[in-house]
C-alpha cells in the first residue's frame, strides 16, 4: 500500500482571499507579526500496491491536471514510506 500526499497552493501572484481572512483573524486573536498566510488544499490518497513507474507518472499527471489547476495553482506531491505519518 502506498500513501500519497499532495499539497495544492494558489500561485504566489494569485490573490488568496481565504489566506487574507485568516491572516486578519490571527492578528485579531493576538498573534502578532504574521506577514503572510496562504491557504491551500491537502490531499491524502491511499493506493493499493506500489506507486511506481507508469502509475507514479499517472498520479503526477492527475495531481497536475485534476487536483490542481495549473493556471492558478501549483502542487507538491510526496509518496510516503510505509508507516510514515501523512501530515
Amino acid at each position: 500500500m502506498a500513501r500519497v500526499v499532495v499539497d495544492v497552493m494558489l500561485k504566489p501572484e494569485i490573490l488568496d482571499p481565504q489566506g487574507r481572512a485568516v491572516q486578519g483573524a490571527l492578528g485579531r486573536l493576538g498573534l502578532d507579526g504574521v506577514t503572510d498566510v496562504r491557504q491551500g488544499k491537502h490531499f491524502v490518497i491511499d493506493i493499493d500496491g506500489d506507486l511506481e513507474g507508469e502509475r507514479h507518472d499517472l498520479m503526477h499527471r492527475l495531481a497536475d491536471e485534476l487536483l490542481s489547476n495549473p493556471v492558478i495553482e501549483s502542487y507538491e506531491m510526496r509518496v510516503l514510506a510505509d508507516g510514515e505519518e501523512a501530515s
Binding site: L10, E13, I14, L15, P17, Q18, A21, L66, L67, N69, V71, I72
Partner: protein, 225 residues
C-alpha cells in the same frame, strides 16, 4: 428548428432553466447527458450552472473529464458555439477553451444578487443581439466567481475585445478588471458568470435582459445556415 444542446452533469442545477430560455427564444432545447460522448447533431451547446460533481474539488474540475466534454472540446475548436454559464464558465476554463480561472469570491460568501453589467463585445455568437455599451441586469449567484488570469492574458483579452461583459456598480466577487464574461478568439465560445437564463421572463427574473443571449445564437445560426 435550431437545436441547442443543454448538458446535464451530475449536480447540474440550471439545466432546465437554460432549456426554458432556449425555448422562449424560439429554439429547440436538446438534453445532452454527461456520460454520452455524442452531441446528437445539435447546432450549439449550453453548459449550465450548478455544482457538477458537487464541485468539491474545484468548480468544474471533475466535469471537465466527462465523456461529453472530449467531444465538445473538439467541436468547439471546430467552431461549434458554446455558452458556459457560471459552472459552465468554470468548466470552459478548466478545459482551457477559455483562458484564466474562477476563484473563491473575495467576500468568501456565496452571493446571489441582481447584477448590473455592461455588454462589451457583440462579436460573439451569443451577444450579437446586444449593442456594445448596453446595460443589463441579470441574476448572479456563485461562490467561486472571481475571474483571474495573468496580466498579459488580461491585457490580451481587453486588447482583442474579448471581454464580453463587465460588472457595473459592484464587483461582486473580486474578478480582475470587473470581468463578468469572456469569449475565445473566434467568438464561438463564451463564458459568463451571471445567469442570463434567469432573466428571460419578467415574472421570475429581475428583467428579461438575458434573452438576447439566446436569440443571438439562434439568429447567428440561421444566418450561417
Amino acid at each position: 428548428m435550431t437545436r441547442i444542446g443543454v448538458v446535464t452533469f451530475p449536480g447540474s442545477l440550471d439545466d432546465r432553466d437554460a432549456a426554458r430560455a432556449v425555448r422562449l427564444a424560439g429554439g429547440e432545447p436538446v438534453a445532452l447527458w454527461h456520460g454520452d460522448d455524442d452531441l446528437h447533431g445539435v447546432d450549439a451547446v449550453v453548459l449550465p450552472g450548478g455544482f457538477s460533481y458537487g464541485d468539491y474539488l474545484r468548480c468544474g474540475a471533475i466535469a471537465r473529464f466527462a465523456p461529453v466534454m472530449s467531444t465538445l472540446v473538439d467541436a468547439a475548436r471546430g467552431g461549434l458555439p458554446v455558452l458556459g454559464i457560471c459552472n459552465g464558465f468554470q468548466i470552459l476554463c478548466e478545459t482551457h477553451l477559455l483562458p484564466g480561472a474562477l476563484t473563491r469570491n473575495d467576500s468568501l460568501h456565496f452571493i446571489c444578487r441582481d447584477q448590473r453589467l455592461r455588454i462589451e463585445s457583440t462579436d460573439s455568437a451569443w451577444t450579437a443581439d446586444y449593442q456594445v455599451g448596453d446595460e443589463i441586469v441579470i441574476p448572479l449567484k456563485n461562490g467561486e466567481g472571481g475571474f483571474v488570469a495573468d496580466e498579459s492574458t488580461l491585457d490580451a483579452l481587453e486588447g482583442e475585445g474579448r471581454v464580453v461583459a463587465r460588472y457595473l456598480e459592484v464587483n461582486p466577487n473580486g474578478s480582475r478588471r470587473d470581468i463578468a464574461g469572456i469569449r475565445n478568439e473566434r467568438g464561438n465560445v463564451v463564458g459568463l458568470m451571471p445567469h442570463p437564463e434567469h432573466a428571460v421572463e419578467l415574472l421570475t427574473g429581475p428583467s428579461a435582459d438575458g434573452l438576447p443571449f439566446f436569440t443571438s445564437i439562434l439568429r447567428s445560426l440561421v444566418g450561417a445556415a
